[in-house]
């Protein structure tokens, strides 16, 4: 079963626990600047939006890589192999969403790999704004919200 990180910005409070958890797991320290997931603050609209790689089925980063350093694992997750990555950054240019980034201290690119199936950001989020679930069910929560707005009883009495 492929899983996906499903993000609900309405629940996000901007605490950045996800960035702290991600950077600890990946870098061994608390360092939001190196986090694979980032929370953006749209202050004037009262919105916080966590954002990270969605693991495209046809991944442009992977297509662009000249040394085949990005591979797809059995869960559909795109992984960067540090031993192969030459830091050319073509994948950063190719990614339409900006979720592949460069780590100047290692000379490699970094991106979300869903922590091998147990994402640290999900466990750290205090409001369940980030959940990890069956990718084929990913839209059903939102679908259900819209379904609830369909007032068939009101139509029946018209």
């Amino acid at each position: 079963m492929q899983k996906a990180l499903v993000i609900d910005p309405v629940k996000c409070t901007g605490c950045k626990q996800c960035e702290l958890a991600c950077s600890y797991v990946k870098e061994g320290e608390f360092n939001p600047a190196k986090s694979r997931i980032r929370v953006f603050d749209f202050h004037q609209d009262a919105r916080f939006v966590p954002y990270t790689c969605t693991q495209c089925a046809e991944a442009w980063c992977q297509r662009a890589c000249p040394v085949d350093a990005i591979t797809t694992n059995e869960w559909g997750v795109k992984e960067v192999h540090d031993g192969l990555c030459v830091g050319c950054k073509v994948c950063i240019i190719a990614c339409p969403f900006g979720t592949v980034n460069y780590n100047a201290s290692t000379g490699k690119v970094i991106k979300c790999d869903e922590c091998g199936g147990d994402p640290a950001c999900v466990k750290a989020c205090p409001t369940d704004a980030i959940i990890y679930m069956d990718v084929e069910q990913a839209g059903f929560g939102k679908m259900r919200q819209w379904a609830a707005k369909t007032d068939t009883a009101a139509q029946a009495t018209q």
């Binding site: 190196k34 009262a46 205090p126």
Partner: protein
Amino acid sequence: MGWTGQVLRVNLTKGTCTPEALNKDWAGQYLGQRGLGSKYLVEETDPKVDPLSPDNKMIFATGPLTGTCASTGGRYSVITKGPLTGAIACSNSGGYWGAELKFAGWDMIILEGKADKPVYLCIIDGKAELLDASEIWGKSVWDMDAWIKSRHQDPMMHVSGIGIAGENGVLYSCIINDLHRAAGRSGVGAVMGSKNLKAIAVRGTGGVKVDDFPAFLAATSAAKEVLAGNAVTGEGLPAFGTQVLMNVINEAGALPTRNTREVQFEGAHDISAEAMAKPSGKDGKPNLLANQACFSCTIACGRISKINEEHYTVRNKPEYWHASGGLEYEAAWALGAATGVSDLDALTYANFICNEQGIDPISFGATLGAAMEMYEDGALTDKDTGGLKLNFGSAEALTQATELTGKAEGFGKELGMGSKKLCDKYGKPELSMTVKGQEFPAYDPRGIQGMGLTYATSNRGACHLRSYTVSSEILGIPEKTDPLVTDGKAGLVKAFQDATAAVDSAGLCIFTTFAWTLEDIAPQIDGALAGEWSVDRLLEIGERVWNLERQYNLQAGFTAKDDTLPKRLLKDAAKTGPAKGLVAGLDKMLPEYYAVRGWTEDGVPTNETLSRLAL
């Protein structure tokens, strides 16, 4: 670990930025942030220094947990001598700035001297430099924040600085970071302005390490569970913010109203959390749009609000139609109950202006309340106020006065002196609701007796955040005490003061203590830092910090005579509510407090106490 080990010393007179090593011995004795910053201030400055002179220093200090995943671990404090009080000032702020300073590789910034022209300090990781601020001097905090991010082409920067009020020496001006988080009290913004320093902009891309990651993660995870499971930190604060208190304190008969003439406000419900959540705008949206967390905080009590676009304050000002920091309880009380105004949108607008220009809404609202009483008594005339009709309950008076004070124009200049100097000037010193020159906040000591002793003995002038006995007396945390009696309050206040001083020195938010005790906090600090960090060690540090601050104030010229309350609280009984007929029983608590502190009858720490605390 927990520390970067680097302190940035900035001499504004010489224009130099010099790194130096953090004094680890002092960090062992004073922990960090409030305690450690105060130790540096005490060692480096004369307590008799003029707060607004170049000889005063100001210290921006983080705690050992700032920048970690400990819940609320993102805080910093500004420590200096306060111009509103003449006492030691330590103002604590959240948002993201403190953590960003750590990520840039700095534990603390020490600012000394005075720049010869307006500058801002720009810190990008290890590189710190003073840059020309002539284009932002005279601009609001919000415009300054946008200008700096644009100038450096970096929207991820975090900026802490002053608005027009701080530039113009409003004595209760704040330092604001992240647009609406404030190092709010005692006029620390005026000190920054006196140094010609507009802002400190920070961008950090480094990491923070702790001493023992597995132990630290176990302790912080367990502590987060405690916060999530607690009714106040897990439910009340996220849903209602600190405004959850408005109706509660009003019903307790402890909501100081119209310059503390009364203890209950008939308009309390209209300015409460419940009112903020009610649909009001033409778009059907409520005042409150969302709650916001500060860095690393799993409580998220911050309010993000919007003013109704039809409201008179903003009808022709689309620049105020966006969301920003909304009313917290203290601001809603000061701008509302203290002035008798119950127009929620007017309060929200005044709060926006306080954030935009960097003024402390507590001191401002309380000062305006005093001015309103003088105006209604005839001590202030239209000629004095420049035509402002300062009647209690007038929303127009509130919003106009806020605009004038934020820009230090007209009668706003007089309001900017604070209530003590204002009431002295117009011959009504008894109408100033202050202790050591600082306006007291949203709890009437007649209805919550412990808060009377809290205000009287607070080292930074009247303040609720130095020993929040409301927790015990109203909310029953950690155990319920009777708010109407004075028995046992001396020991209660001391216990809260010492524990709070430890929390304020850690990098954590005091709101965690609705759920946490030091038993929850000590393991987190122990995981972060080398050495053994027990509850007893933290309590000893808290008591050491308290006495260090006390010693500074005594050397600055304060005496036991300043440990008092306004006559109104001591002589005029509450007229309504549960405390009807009661005055603040300070005389019954103060001698006992001095005794439990190990101080003389004159409020001076004895030699035994000082040597026990290694002071």
